[in-house]
Symmetry: C2
Subunit: 163 residues, 2 copies
DNA sequence: GGTGATTGGTTACATATGAAACTAATTCAT
DNA sequence: ATGAATTAGTTTCATATGTAACCAATCACC
């Protein structure tokens, strides 16, 4: 597709303008940051956890016994962030490491009883935030949104096109 | 609406689970960060600008003569970030300040000729990124997305409900 | 028209974050 | 087997970011 829309014509004549408020990356950023900050403040207030610690717990709650590397993959965090998050969770008593039987470099990670309790306590809070956010959308619109986001994520995936 | 979906029932019996990959705030965060980082790398490579500097330029390109405070409002940045961004842009020669006639505390901000040139040069890059991101969506879907994001942003606005 | 509260903007400080260097264990090729 | 290259995870260091403290000018109002 070599395009056609007149108003986008890159060499129209007058100098180009770009309205920040309509620019998708900007809109995503503002929305995401607003949401994340509100949630982060909540987790911190209630449990002294930051977003990354919570992400690790969320994944380990679902899938115990992952290594830090696997955790990094599934949380879209880099390994340094994971290392710090799990170190903090460990000293807080929320998780425990078990050196992997075959590979002494790696540890398998598990939530402790305490961590599991906290995990269970956070879930409803997370859900509440998500519901508040989705409140104005119908069920059908939520499905649409989910689908659109999936496709955007695919387009944005590193390795695709201009990214 | 006091709800009805069975699978969401908060007190069902078994321990609750939450799949991070389906959690909207997480999905937004990952998508937004992926996009922002790719763009930021590009701006930096090509013009030595970071996202905040670019945001300021984008708004001043459209609306010259704003004060730092006004700029902060329109870029969803806090005043410290704006202060730093415009200081950097000034030393880089991209913008110039003009002390406001009536209020000696404030400065009106303008892109210099050089800044304007850079601004014009960046716009197509920004557009290209946006287009790459939106590539998989039809025109109609883009409109849907825009609408959905507007409504989410409204729901997430500080001051609304649980936020 | 002078004094306390506000506001525009910057600075200082403490914390968060990411890149790269590093250690230790493992694998691969010979 | 043995050494080079790879991988798991941590530490270091330099930079980015947010909060709170801070000046200076303006406003409110008596």
């Amino acid at each position: 597709m070599s395009d056609s829309k007149p108003s986008d014509d890159p060499v129209a004549g007058g100098p180009e303008k770009l309205s920040l408020g309509d620019f998708l990356p900007y809109r995503l950023s503002v929305l995401s940051n607003t949401v994340s900050r509100a949630i982060a403040a909540d987790y911190d207030r209630a449990f002294g956890l930051n977003i990354w610690q919570w992400r690790c717990m969320a994944v380990l709650g679902e899938t115990p016994g992952l290594t830090a590397r696997e955790l990094a993959e599934r949380t879209a965090m880099d390994k340094v962030a994971v290392s710090r998050a799990i170190a903090a969770l460990e000293t807080a008593g929320h998780l425990r490491r078990e050196t992997d039987a075959r590979d002494a470099r790696a540890s398998r990670l598990f939530l402790t009883a305490d961590g599991l309790r906290t995990y269970q306590a956070i879930i409803p809070i997370a859900r509440r935030h998500e519901q508040a956010l989705l409140a104005p959308l119908t069920e059908h619109e939520r499905a649409q949104l989910s689908d659109l986001l999936t496709r955007l994520a695919h387009a944005a995936a590193p390795g695709e096109g201009l990214w």
